[in-house]
Amino acid sequence: MATTRRLTRRQRARLIRGAQYGIGALVVLVLALTANWGRIRTAFFDVDVARGMFPEVITIALKNTVIYTALGFGFGLALGLVLALMRLSSVGVYRWLARGYIEFFRGLPALLVLIAVGYGIPTAFPGTILNRNIAIMVALGIVSSAYVGEVIRAGIQAVPRGQVEAARSLGMSPTRTMIWIVIPQAFRIVLPPLTNDLIALTKDSSLVLFLGATQGQYELTQFGRQELNNAKSLTPVLIAGVCYLIITIPLSGLSNRLERRYGSGAMTRGA
């Protein structure tokens, strides 16, 4: 019987967990002991510097981050839907175009796309004065559409085949079936992963600073860096970081809620 065993399964599990906690505590201890707390306090938690950032950090920086993200995501969503439909098209050329586009832009750093759009277009077409918001919308939209397109394609493919068959047998055309039956259900499925893309784009919007900005156009990262320059303190970076979390954490919460309501499993129950 179990007399030959040195440890029961439960004891072993407890031992391993104990070791994990021990290592965790050790890491925290080492970091806490080696960090220079005095410097951290003056550098990151300078109350005067923090106070000086308000209200502009909200009224300008946070607002612009939201605007830039919304512009990019709106464009990305529209383009992504087109890409998804092209990927599933019966026309080979469309499929390959969409495939190539997605592989290309999904593999490029967002920063390069942003610089290519913001500085490349006016260079290639002399005399073009790019509206900054349009440049941002196009650049961030291109980046996010590559991800969004793949997410939507997966969503469309996840709509049960029976839905299409039922619609077709009721006499709906393939186009009408796609628009009225498949796409609405696909969006329900992809809402949680789309929220993830939105969160990622919120952070990528920081790269907009490379396009150059006037004071009224600063988003959170550039605003934080300007303040860092002026105040020679890292506090603005901390504040800017908190502001990103103000945007992203509610989005995560939303994503989780959508996942519970509409995610896998909810579909079959609903249908």
């Binding site: 065993r5 399964r9 072993r12 290592i23 080696t34 320059n229």
Partner: protein, 277 residues
């Protein structure tokens, strides 16, 4: 049965062990860095501590032609040549680190031990002096305005409501903030992006140091430097606060180079003429 349930546990234990070793090693490395940074060991001669053995690391912001820029895959320029003289004196080689200018001029790069010195076409200012130390001045500069030829813009007052490009963290940005309150200042990360914006007409004018702007317009017919502002600036090489051993070495190399004529040779190589003074 028993065997099968033990295997994963053993693997886990090994993983945990490895992790612990890695953590300890990382912590150990951190300590080493801190020691070198605060001036203990290092293999450089004459009591000069270097952040990297055998290398004189120079934090600079590329491109800043003709002070530091890439040419044929190598980073060259006026500043690079001067720092090479210091490196030669120390018997080490120069290593250039390209980093955003706001990190250089705020002292963050020097004081965090990222670089030994910063030769970055950088003006000596009182604010910067609070955060790190400067060598003796090695170059005279003023702010200047670059515009499209024939635009008729030759002063800041004419930029009312127009877009003026400035570079993040520079004295030009500071000057424009104080003297062009009616212009819309557009902040760019580096000189290359700023000049591209000027060239493609995204902005109406750009402000930066005269040396780099003259260098840029010299082979352009449709852009000109329309104004110099006589800000009377002087460039200095930055070192970490309190690193007097390195600072003294830089100053002695600079003064030797000036008296021996080597400075003039380098100056002529990058500016096409001898220094005027």
């Amino acid at each position: 049965m028993i065997d099968r349930s033990r295997k994963p546990a053993a693997r886990l234990a090994r993983l945990v062990g490895l992790l612990a070793v890695a953590v300890l090693a990382a912590a150990g490395c951190g300590d080493d860095d801190a020691d070198t940074g605060s001036g203990g060991t290092s293999g450089a001669p004459a009591g000069v501590d270097l952040v990297k053995d055998g290398k004189l690391t120079n934090c600079t912001g590329l491109p800043y032609e003709p002070f530091e820029f890439e040419q044929g895959g190598k980073i060259v320029g006026f500043d690079v040549d001067l720092v090479d003289l210091v490196a030669k004196e120390l018997g080490v080689t120069q290593e250039v680190i390209d980093t955003p200018f706001d990190g250089i001029q705020s002292g963050a790069d020097l004081n965090s031990g990222k670089c030994d010195l910063a030769a970055a076409g950088m003006t000596i200012t009182d604010t910067r002096k609070q955060n790190f130390d400067f060598s003796d001045p090695y170059f005279d500069a003023t702010q200047a305005l670059v515009v499209k030829t024939g635009s008729g813009i030759s002063d800041l007052a004419q930029l009312k409501g127009k877009k003026l490009a400035v570079q993040n963290g520079t004295t030009g940005q500071e000057y424009a903030q104080q003297n062009a309150p009616d212009a819309e200042l557009v902040v760019f990360e580096d000189l290359g992006l700023l000049l591209t914006a000027v060239e493609t007409g995204q902005v109406d004018a750009g402000i930066n140091d005269n040396g780099v702007l003259y260098d840029w317009v010299k082979d352009k017919t449709d852009f000109e430097v329309s104004k110099e502002f006589n800000t009377g600036e002087q460039y200095g090489i930055g070192v970490r606060k309190g690193n007097t051993a390195l600072l003294d070495k830089i100053n002695s190399v600079l003064s030797t180079a000036k008296s021996s004529g080597e400075y003039d040779t380098i100056y002529e190589r990058w500016f096409g003429k001898k220094p005027s003074s």
